[in-house]
Structure formats: C-alpha cells, structure tokens
C-alpha cells in the first residue's frame, strides 16, 4: 500500500515536470494553427475552433524564411563537420602522444570559456574583417568553431581515454600506418563520442543568436535565429502566429536529428574485446 502511494507520488511529480516543460511547446504548436482573430480572444481557447495553415504558407512563400533555413542548415552542418574533424584528431593527439605541455595545452583550450562571449565578439569581428570574410556564412562558421571546439575537444578526449592503447598498438603491429590505425580502430570505437559531439555542436550552432546578430547583417547570411526575429518583431508589432509557425519549423530539423541519432547515442558504449 505504502509502496503504491510512493509510486503514485513519484509519477505525479514526474508528470507535473513533463507538463510544465511541454506546455510551452504545445502552446506553440496550437498557436501556430489558430487563425489570427482567435489569438487574442478573452478568455483564451485551448483547442483552436478552426485550424488553419495560412501562417505556414505565408512564411514559406511570402518571406525569406526558406533562405534563413538554408543558411542555418549550411552553417550548422559546416560548423559541425569542421569542429568534429579538428576535435577528433586533436583529442587523439592529447590522449595518445606524449609531448611537453600536453596537459597545459588541454587546459588552455578551455580558457576561452572563462571569457563571456560578448567580450570576444569585437575582436572576432575585427579578425573577420581582416580576413575579408566579414558578413558571410564563413565568418559565422569560424566564430562558432571558436566556442564549440574546446568543449568538443574535451568531450572527445574523455571518450578516447576509454579506448585502450593496446588496440591501436595491435593495429600498428598488424601492419597499419598511424593514420590507418586511427581510421580502422580508433574512429569506430570513438563513434558514440563523435556522434554526441556532433549533436552538441549542431544544436549549439543552430540555436546561436548573439554572434549571428553582431557579425552578420545581410539576409544572404542570416541564420534562422536572427532572421526570424528581425523579420517578425518590429517596434510596433510582433506577429505571434507567424513567429509560432516559424518556431515549429525551426524545431523540426533538431527533432529529426535527435530521432535519427538517438539509437547511436544509446548503442554499445561498453566495448567488448578487451579484458583486464
């Protein structure tokens, strides 16, 4: 009886949290399909009396939303590829090779995290101008890499520390080159780590706002975050239904990616083959 009450209390607690977390999302979806006139009705309706997709249609055909979407996809994908490629090789070096200042180097990498990103924006902007890439997607890729890479490096480092040295040694004795051993043995072992790092980097780039706001001021290079805000929020008016429709569509890629990669994330962390 007591056990049952305990379970009941636990479930009640858990569901309350789920409800609190999920409500804004549900409200977002509901609002995006309500007609304009129903939005500000008092008292508010929960279920829309009439379902409409006119906001979605307007976003897709009458605004640069798709351009922003493309920018965001290109930006996040490019950042993720760059960060993961550099971080994987870097983490391997930090774990595997012995050289002077290795630990110091690893700590120094985290140093950028000690500074608030606002402080870094201006120097970054000046560097972009100097490099001649200011106001472009490339400038954002570089900027995002500066803050995604340190974390990615540490995440992958701890993953790679879990891979026994002997695996790579065995590959070397078996006739592989260093690079061969890395691709044949280390990479497959580090795959769960690489996937979660990619996921982390992608989400970070997808949701980034501040750098995008400061470093880019043309629609050609604006990602969704700043693009949508810029387009729908003006001094006089906030287009709530369009904003909600945009928010729903912005969430979709992340949901797809999560759904797709989740099975990789949870799969086979325990490596067999090595005992003792």
């Amino acid at each position: 009886m007591r056990k049952l009450a305990g379970r009941l209390a636990f479930n009640l607690f858990a569901w309350t949290i789920v409800l609190v977390t999920a409500f804004p999302l549900v409200w977002m979806v509901i609002t995006s399909v309500k007609p304009q006139f129903e939005l500000f009705r008092i008292p508010p309706t929960f279920w829309p009396e009439q379902i409409t997709f006119e906001h979605y249609a307007r976003l897709l055909w009458d605004t640069p939303f798709l351009l922003y979407m493309r920018n965001s996809l290109v930006l996040s994908t490019a950042t993720t590829l760059l960060v993961v490629a550099v971080a994987t090789l870097g983490a391997h070096s930090l774990v595997r090779f012995r050289y002077r200042g290795r630990e110091r180097l690893a700590q120094l990498v985290l140093f950028t995290y000690l500074l608030p990103s606002v402080v870094l924006i201006l120097p970054l902007y000046l560097m972009m101008v100097w490099l001649g890439v200011a106001n472009s997607l490339l400038s954002l890729v570089i900027a995002y890499t500066t803050f995604a890479l340190p974390y990615a490096l540490w995440l992958l480092r701890s993953f790679m520390q879990g891979i026994p040295d002997d695996l790579e040694n065995a590959a070397l004795v078996d006739g592989a080159t260093r690079m061969g051993a890395f691709f044949d043995v280390i990479l497959p072992q580090a795959l769960p780590g690489i996937i979660s790092t990619s996921l982390f980097t992608f989400i970070l780039s997808w949701n980034e706002y501040l750098y995008a706001l400061v470093l880019v001021n043309t629609d050609e290079a604006r990602p969704l975050t700043t693009g949508v805000m810029n387009m729908l929020i003006s001094a006089f008016n906030i287009e709530w239904s369009l904003l909600m429709a945009a928010s729903v569509m912005m969430s979709i890629p992340l949901i797809i990616i999560f759904a797709f990669l989740q099975k990789f994330l949870t799969r086979g962390f325990g490596a067999g083959g090595v005992k003792g």
């Binding site: 695996l167 040694n169 590959a171 004795v173 044949d184 067999g272 083959g273 090595v274």
Partner: protein, 368 residues
C-alpha cells in the same frame, strides 16, 4: 636467408629510460631463430618494455635491436614482420572474429580470396571455425585468447611476441593453453618471445629463460640452468616454489659457518671472514638422519607431498619438501642433512654465485 636466420633477435647494449626512470639498462641478449625464450621477472622488471621495444611500440634510448640481422631501431612496427599477442588480447571490438584474424593480411594487401582461405585454415587449427561470424564480446576469455593467437598466426611472421597471454585465464585453461602453445611453437618453428611473471609458464614452455630484475638481465639460460645454477641471489630466490632457503653465514675454518649449519669447502675456498649465503632448495634437505637438528613448526600436506617449516638455530626457518608418508609432526625435533652436490653458495655482498666450492656437511655442529 634461412628460416632460422630470419628469426634471430639481438639486443645490444639496449637501454630504455622514461624521463629519469630507467626501465631497461644495458641489455645484451641474443635469441636464436626458432627459439622459445621467456622474459621472466616480477612486475616492473623491464620485461614488457623489452618486448614492446622489439615490437617497435617503444624506442630504445640507446643501443641497437636487430631482427634477422637487420637493425630495426627505426623500423615501424608493421614493417618488422613480427606479430604480437597482447595481455588484454586487444581484439578489435567492432570487427567479427574473421575480420580480426584477417586484419594483418588486409593491411599487407593480400587478396580477398586468399585472405579468406588463410583465415579458414587458421580458424580450423585453433578450433574457431564456428565462431568466425561473432564479435569479440560474444566470446569467452579462452576463445578471445585463441582469436588473438589466430591474428598472430595467420601471417607466419618471423617472430611471435606474447605479453602475458595466459594471465587472464583461469588456472585449468591456463594449463591447457600452456601445452597448446608448446605444440604451436613446435609446429610453426618460429621464434617466440614470451613475457611472463609466472615461473611455471617460463619453466615449462621455454628453451631458454631470461630472468630480469629492475631493468637488468640477471641470467639467461635453459630452465635447468636457472634452476640448478642460479647466477645470483635474485634468481635463486625467484625461481622455484616453494622458494630456495637462503641462510646467512660466513667463511671460517675452511668452511661455511652458521649457528646450525656447518659445511666444509672442498677445493678452492672463499677467503675467511667473507659473508656468504647458503642456498638450499626444499627438496634437497634429507630427513631422519644427518648432522643437523631442527624443530618442526608447521606441516602442510598437499596430497602427493608435504611442505614443512622447520625452525633451526640462528633464528632461521627452513622450508622443506618431503614425500607424503614422511613422519612429520609439528612440535617434534628431528635430524636432517643436505644433498651436498646440490647446494648453492653466494657472496652476500655482491649476491653472485660462488662456483668453486663443493661442500661437505660437517657433523660437528654446535647444536647437534
């Protein structure tokens, strides 16, 4: 080059230091082609470092290492034509057993059909055929061990390197694998370099044993030599279970003197007053008659024999082996003697074996 010459391994003045810590000092070791050599010693003695230098996974600080007459100091592990079995087996977890065994061939550009044929052949030898499609984590420890062996065997390398390959197996399987390894070595006829801290493994499998301690090679000889003529106190104490009894005494009156044990030197005698250590294996003590006395402290019957601890004067304890029927009772006193030709004498200061003196027991013991 003959098969035997191909498999010759030579360490010349090899030294390996990690920062200020010296793992191997001035190692000179010449291994003949086709020989089964064990590197034996306690952990931290430099045996694994020695093996890893031979594999090319560590580079010597100084000195040269050669395989088949070719200096390999600067040669990458994969180009040395050696195969290695790791203590952890180091099977590639994401590959099947077949892929694991085929990997060294793949890296050497062997065509797929031939690869498959060789893998099948090796799998048959090691009774792995049914396991080929499995992943390493689906195998038992003994099976994983055989896959690791298979990965080494598939290529017919000049030298096999084995780093404590049996230490993760249970006792019964270990005994079984020992005989399989002996068989395997005889069949492939290649040089085996085998690292172990287990003297039983070294004694049973090796043609020669290199005993190492604190980075220094103590003795390199056949199992019989290291057992019957240990070069120094370390080898004497390390080889043999139960361990050799070591009694401290000194050279006086033309013999070895100790509160209980007195022995006369025949032939050239060490200088009088020199500190000596007498080595006496448990099985070289004779019971019942003899010049010396002892009190039985503890008897441990093992079934086919008895191990006993005897207290003798001078505060020493003697471990002895006797057959199962020997009348040994704790608390009783008895008389004992030694098999004189099988005694060992060491210089207490240098620890080195003194070869010259053949010793005869003297009846006129103090506590007789």
């Amino acid at each position: 080059m003959t098969r035997s010459e191909e498999g010759e391994v030579r360490f010349e003045k090899v030294r390996k230091a990690f920062g200020t810590a010296v793992a191997v000092r001035e190692l000179d070791l010449a291994i003949r082609g086709g020989e089964f050599v064990s590197l034996l010693g306690p952990s931290g003695c430099g045996k694994t470092t020695t093996l890893r230098m031979l594999a090319g996974l560590e580079f010597p600080t100084s000195g040269t290492i050669s395989i088949g007459g070719r200096v390999v100091n600067e040669v990458a592990p994969g180009a040395r034509d050696v195969a290695m079995v790791f203590q952890s087996y180091a099977l590639y977890p994401h590959m099947t057993v077949a892929e694991n065994i085929a990997y060294p061939l793949k890296k050497r550009g062997v065509a797929r059909l031939e690869r498959e044929a060789r893998v099948r052949q090796v799998a048959e030898t090691l009774q792995l055929s049914a396991l080929l499609p499995r992943k390493p984590r689906q195998l038992s420890g003994g099976q994983q061990q055989r896959v690791a062996l298979g990965r080494a065997l598939v290529r017919d390398p000049r030298v096999f390197l084995l780093d404590e390959p049996l230490s993760n197996l249970d006792a019964k399987l270990r005994a079984h694998m020992r005989s399989e390894l002996i068989e395997l070595h005889r069949r492939v006829g290649r040089t085996f370099v085998y690292v172990t801290h287990d003297q039983l493994e070294a004694m049973t499998m090796s043609d020669r044993i290199a005993v190492m301690h604190e980075g220094v090679l103590q003795q390199f000889g056949t199992p019989g030599e290291v057992y019957n003529q240990p070069a120094n106190l370390f080898v004497a104490a390390f080889i043999g279970a139960p361990a050799m009894n070591l009694l401290r005494g000194r050279a006086a009156e033309g013999g070895f003197t100790h509160p209980t044990v007195r022995l006369g030197f025949a032939g050239a005698a060490p200088g009088a007053g020199r500190d000596l250590v007498l080595g006496l294996r448990p099985e070289d003590v004779t019971l019942g008659t003899g010049p010396f006395a002892a009190r039985v402290r503890l008897v441990e019957p093992t079934g086919h024999e008895q191990i006993a601890q005897l207290d003798i004067e001078g505060g020493d304890t003697l471990t002895i082996r006797a057959d199962a029927e020997a009348p040994l009772t704790a608390g009783e006193t008895l008389r004992w003697g030694v098999r004189a030709p099988r005694l060992h004498l060491f210089d207490a200061t240098t620890g080195n074996r003194l070869e010259a003196a053949v010793m005869m027991p003297q009846a006129a013991a103090a506590s007789g």
